[in-house]
């Protein structure tokens, strides 16, 4: 009887799989195919691309990638000055690492303070952070734009200051729960040995948090690398690669030579692909964990 039941269930599963699997598989192909299509077309002559974008390249012009890197440029706020692809990559790197570093340090400090030091203000700040998370301020952009310009942080690396916030962020809650679960007896042992609060924080707590910090930092880096909007609005003289892609969309050079544009598009996605392949499990686990922590 039991065997029969098992057979019926597995048949049900097989029928569902036969219907659902082709749908999911086809959908996954639509998500992957555009990259292959863009890669093949990035190796063609512009004319060949216009004639037939489905075929394989007649000549595999890997030199298109070199040409794209050396020729494509976007204008700064002063029309006489421009930035090339290498310059954009450098801007992407300092913007990404700077923002993530500032944000991680500030968030770790606050999460540790709130979770391990039981002052009333700490409890209030923790509860307040949860409330801020659920407040949706609509249309703050005009005011933000005006304020950033007033305090003079736009179009300079001072924009990194905007990353020094964590109240209302999910990262604060994740680090908070992490530190909350670490035993305070480690700290007591350090105090007995004559160490202070900074020793506990820097030499005991942070080393234990390295795995979660690295997972969160990777996710943060991906977000900052991909962010085209903030640099486009506030860092006009420091266009990142993502911003450059947006600006190049309408450039006459790329309009008439799509293969070059595809080369830059794929070039900008390449570092993320590589990071994803290396840290795949870490990234997916921490994203899933972020959801669980809610």
């Amino acid at each position: 009887m039991k065997v029969k039941e098992k057979n019926i269930k597995s048949t049900q599963e097989i029928i569902v799989s036969c219907i659902v699997f082709p749908i999911l598989f086809l959908w996954s192909i639509t998500l992957l195919y555009p990259y292959l299509w863009a890669f093949l077309n990035s190796l063609k002559e512009p004319g060949e691309f216009l004639l037939d974008s489905f075929s394989l390249p007649e000549k595999w012009l890997f030199s298109n990638w070199n040409t794209a890197i050396s020729t494509l440029r976007v204008q700064k706020s002063n029309p006489l000055e421009s930035v090339g692809i290498i310059g954009m990559i450098i801007n992407s790197i300092w913007w990404m690492f700077g923002s993530v570093l500032v944000n991680t340090i500030v968030t770790l400090m606050m999460a540790y303070g709130l979770s391990k030091y039981h002052f009333r203000v700490g409890k209030f700040l923790h509860a307040f952070s949860l409330v801020v998370m659920t407040i949706s301020v609509v249309g703050a952009f005009p005011s933000q734009y005006s304020l950033y310009n007033k305090i003079g942080i736009t179009n300079s690396p001072a924009m990194l200051l905007t990353a020094a916030g964590c109240i209302g962020s999910s990262a604060l809650l994740i680090y908070y729960s992490f530190f909350k679960n670490i035993s305070w007896s480690y700290a007591e042992a350090v105090f007995i040995d004559g160490g202070g609060h900074w020793t506990v924080f820097l030499r005991v707590m942070i080393p234990q948090a390295v795995p979660i910090i690295s997972a969160m930092a990777v996710i943060g880096c991906i977000g900052m690398w991909n962010d085209y909007f903030t640099p486009y609005i506030y860092l006009r003289d420091y266009p990142t690669l993502a911003t450059g892609l947006y600006l190049l969309q309408t450039s006459s050079l790329t309009m008439n030579n799509k293969p070059l544009y595809f080369a830059v598009v794929l070039l900008s996605a390449l570092p993320i692909f590589v990071i994803f392949m290396i840290f795949q499990d870490k990234i997916m686990t921490s994203v899933s964990m972020g959801g669980l922590k809610g």
């Binding site: 039941e5 269930k9 599963e13 799989s17 659902v20 999911l24 598989f25 959908w27 996954s28 639509t30 998500l31 992957l32 555009p34 299509w37 863009a38 500030v106 400090m109 606050m110 303070g113 030091y117 002052f119 700040l125 801020v132 998370m133 659920t134 407040i135 949706s136 301020v137 609509v138 249309g139 952009f141 005009p142 005011s143 304020l147 020094a164 916030g165 964590c166 109240i167 202070g196 609060h197 991906i222 991909n226 085209y228 909007f229 892609l245 799509k258 544009y261 595809f262 598009v265 794929l266 900008s268 996605a269 993320i272 994803f276 997916m284 686990t285 994203v287 972020g290 959801g291 669980l292």
Partner: protein
């Protein structure tokens, strides 16, 4: 003497605690409170002192149902995107995540591919989507229909917003799948096994076991989606720049800040929408709390 020691220790602790929290507090004061106070200042700031003119203009624009009302167009499109996300994409995404959780054929490959759009820049995704639609898909449809003119997916009122919606569906389905299938994987195996012995079916397991157990996570996602009802947005700036009736509220604020700047009016409208979203948030929170499935795992 011991009192002095305690005070010194507490002071040291308080000093350390102060250093740990002061930067985010300053940041919050400047970049959150400051921005919102500045919104109020801008909204009431007239040429000759305080004014309510921008709010009056907002209500006038709301009551004007003319064809070229970008604000109403933005509200309408934003609500369509919100509805699509919450009523269609979210349930479908949960359903597909269930198949991944049940380890459908090639589930590892599918999980990775569905996660890719979350880590690739929207500029790249939109570029590829536009190029494929404007190029090969358009040519294919021309051949199939025998038409001599290409289909203007992004340059016509007939198709532009539909193309935006298809893009949102194409990628939106995959957006939270890793979170959902991760949450589902925490379902205790012994509960599933005992339910199977009681004869529960494939979908019975989803409805009676998995969904109730993942409700705490799901409820937070639903709540945050409802809270952000007026911020539901598509990649309008990248795709159409608001042309061909594709304005959303997000793009409307961008327009009022960068394209056709009127910061005062933009700030006033932002304040109005924030106030409208407060009761919606409270109602959603009440509703989510009311659906108490009393499960824990």
């Amino acid at each position: 003497m011991p009192l002095k020691k305690i005070n010194k220790k507490t002071l040291r602790e308080a000093g350390f605690f102060f250093v740990m929290i002061i930067i985010p507090i300053i940041h919050f004061c400047v970049f959150w409170i400051g921005v919102n106070l500045n919104s109020f200042a801008l909204a009431f700031q007239g040429r000759n002192g305080a004014t309510l003119d921008y709010f009056k203009l907002f209500f006038q624009e709301l009551s004007n149902t003319g064809a070229n009302n970008k604000l109403l167009e933005g509200i309408g499109n934003t609500l369509i995107i919100f509805g699509l996300n919450i009523l269609i994409l979210l349930p479908l995404s949960v359903l597909f995540s269930y198949f991944l959780y049940k380890k459908i054929l090639c589930y590892k490959y599918l999980r990775i591919v569905f996660f890719l759009p979350s880590i690739i820049s929207s500029v790249v995704l939109v570029t590829l989507y536009k190029e494929i639609l404007n190029g090969p898909i358009s040519n294919l449809l021309m051949q199939m229909t025998g038409s001599s003119s290409p289909i203007l997916f992004f340059d016509s009122t007939k198709y532009a917003f539909k193309s935006v919606l298809i893009y949102i569906c194409w990628l939106g389905l995959a957006s939270n799948m890793v979170i959902y299938s991760g949450t589902m994987s925490r379902t205790p195996a012994e509960i599933v096994e005992s339910a199977k012995l009681d004869g529960i079916g494939y979908f019975g397991e989803l409805v009676k076991i998995v969904l109730p157990l993942m409700w705490p996570t799901l409820s937070v996602i639903v709540l945050l989606a409802v809270v952000g009802i007026f911020t539901a947005d598509g990649p309008i700036l990248l795709m159409t720049q608001g042309q061909y009736e594709t304005y959303t509220l997000g793009y409307w604020f961008y327009d009022k800040t960068i394209v056709n700047p009127n910061l005062n009016y933009g700030a006033a409208v932002g304040i109005c929408f924030t106030f409208v979203s407060i009761p919606i948030t409270l109602f959603a929170r009440w509703l989510v709390n009311k659906v108490d499935l009393d499960v824990e795992f």
